[in-house]
């Protein structure tokens, strides 16, 4: 037994004090095995003699100091409170369709449609605020099939096409669809409490600054070459209005980090399917999208694809790996609906994309207005030419 003399003395003192107080031996650790045939007694857990009031006060004060310090540390880094981009938040928007807003405009895509379209700008022009159902790093197909199967949705649908996500069928956060249908009351309450009482006030409450995430990105020895995790990119509001975080504009070092992450993702990884399988998968994504779109159009939903701007090394990678003729053109042909390809419209070009993939906040507001005007002029507006005629003209 390695226990020290002083500790044994302490135990004895305590036992004696307990015996004086008529209390059972505090240190005794007995189990049913020590009393064969005797029922397990109700365990006695006497509260040790300590100044509990002072201890509690000290704990609370110290905890407040620690949390305030942590919050201050992240605010100094440029982080500000943002509503967490959770499945619960997505579910709240998805429910709007079944709660009387089935005729609304729905935005469904990846991070580009998510960060680059500004709901307040759209609302100012259109009179109604769209429902944002995009998710970063996630192909729209699972949510699209879910909408196609929901007869309550009869509105308009703008589908974002970021080639690498859309045609690979990447499903980073597609589980949100299943979550929205099965969300339990406790999950709903948790979402509500968190977005009202925690997220608006604490900047550090962002997955990118969780203790494990912060520790994991320290310069540890690299054991296996892996994809770099994506860093914080955007700020989100309570109805999922989302925009690129200003740090991407103001901090060149952070911008470089994010660009390096994209370059890292563009490498060939061992978990990617071989080229033949990838091509087959691409065709399947297009086919399933066309089927879902056909279902939606059959009940009068207006569908429009949009290829949002990208730039620099990201655009080069997309053009090389997902050539427009094989992917975008095939998608429009198979689904028979029109699309807006940013490179075809002068008004959708010339915006600043700090990390090549998303438009900076102020530019994205202007971009939203321009995109809305194109959509109204050529596709959805009362004076738009025949939709099918424009679809062929646009290409």
């Amino acid at each position: 037994m390695p226990s020290s003399t002083s500790s044994s003395d302490g135990l004895r003192d305590l036992a004696e004090r307990d015996a004086r107080a008529g209390m059972p031996d505090r240190d005794a650790r007995q189990t049913a095995a020590d009393r064969p045939g005797v029922a397990q007694p109700v365990p006695m857990r006497p509260v040790p003699a300590q100044p509990w009031g002072r201890i509690l006060l000290g704990t609370v004060l110290l905890l407040v100091l620690l949390v305030a310090g942590w919050e201050e540390y992240w605010r100094a880094y440029g982080v500000r409170p943002s509503i967490a981009n959770t499945f619960g938040l997505w579910s709240m928007q998805r429910r709007r369709i079944d709660a009387g807003e089935g005729a609304a405009t729905v935005l469904l895509g990846d991070s580009r449609l998510y960060f680059d379209i500004h709901l307040p700008v759209w609302e100012r022009l259109d009179g109604r605020r769209p429902i944002q159902l995009s998710f970063e790093g996630t192909a729209p197909l699972p949510a699209l099939e879910d909408l196609a199967a929901d007869p309550k949705f009869t509105g308009r649908l703008l589908i974002g096409v970021a080639p690498d996500v859309f045609f690979s069928g990447f499903k980073f956060r597609a589980a949100a669809v299943g979550y929205a249908h099965k969300e339990s009351p406790s999950q709903r309450i948790g979402q509500w409490l968190s977005m009202h009482f925690i997220e608006p006030y604490f900047a550090f409450d962002d997955p990118d600054y969780a203790l494990q995430t912060v520790l994991a990105r320290q310069p540890w020895l690299v054991r296996v070459h892996q994809r770099l995790p994506v860093r914080k990119l955007a700020m989100t509001e309570s109805d999922r209005n989302t925009y690129l975080w200003s740090k991407l504009e103001t901090d060149p070092e952070y911008r470089t980090i994010v660009r390096k992450i994209w370059l890292n993702h563009m490498q060939r990884w061992d978990d990617e399917p071989p080229p033949a399988v990838a091509l087959k998968n691409e065709k399947e994504q297009i086919e399933r999208t066309a089927q879902a779109v056909a279902k939606l159009r059959a009940r009068g939903v207006k569908v429009l694809f949009v290829r949002m701007p990208s730039d620099g090394a990201y655009l080069e990678f997309e053009n090389r790996k997902y050539p427009r003729a094989r992917t975008w053109d095939a998608l429009l042909a198979a689904s028979g609906v029109p699309g807006i390809y940013f490179a075809d419209y002068p008004e959708l070009q010339g915006y600043e994309l700090p990390e090549w993939s998303h438009i900076k906040h102020s530019d994205a507001e202007r971009f939203t207005g321009e995109l809305y005007k194109v959509i109204q002029r050529d596709f959805w507006g009362p004076n738009a030419p025949g939709v099918s005629a424009k679809a062929s003209a646009a290409r």
Partner: protein
């Protein structure tokens, strides 16, 4: 054995949970048999540690079945224990190995230090300031770790 099998089933309607319970039942039965057979055996310090590690390893096998959704997936994990069958993208980085070692090491150390005393006796002897500090640090760690879900697990049934 029945208790363990039902205990397994209580955790979820899947045969993998039954396997988890069944393995525990088999272990307990084996322990009874061995205790009767080697009633006078007292392990030396080396054997003591070795037997502890053996128990730990055997229990870890059961948890694979608890966590895996199918037996197929359980085999994949069990196979990966003896050879590097995982592609690099599924392998663990240094930090993950370090954090598991730190947590498991911490648990073992705590159990070793606390094996002959109660929490109450330790707190009774600790200076009040130390109790405050440890409580605050634990609460702080919980807050900054954030956690994935806020819902209590037993609400999910």
């Amino acid at each position: 054995m029945t208790t363990m099998l039902l205990g397994g089933l209580w955790h979820g309607a899947n045969w993998t949970f039954v396997a988890w319970g069944g393995l525990h039942g088999v272990y307990l039965a084996a322990e009874r048999v061995l205790r009767a057979r080697f009633a006078n055996y007292r392990p030396g310090p080396l054997a003591f540690v070795a037997l502890g590690l053996l128990t730990y390893t055997l229990v870890n096998v059961t948890w694979v079945f608890f966590r895996a959704k199918t037996f197929g997936k359980a085999w994949i994990v069990l196979r990966a224990w003896r050879a590097r069958t995982m592609p690099p993208s599924r392998s663990w980085q240094t930090f993950s190995l370090f954090s598991v070692a730190a947590i498991v090491g911490g648990i073992l150390l705590t159990h070793w230090l606390m094996r002959a005393r109660t929490l109450e006796s330790v707190i009774a002897r600790a200076p009040a300031a130390a109790v405050s500090m440890i409580w605050a640090l634990m609460a702080f760690a919980i807050i900054i770790a954030q956690g994935a879900g806020s819902a209590f697990i037993y609400f999910q049934f």
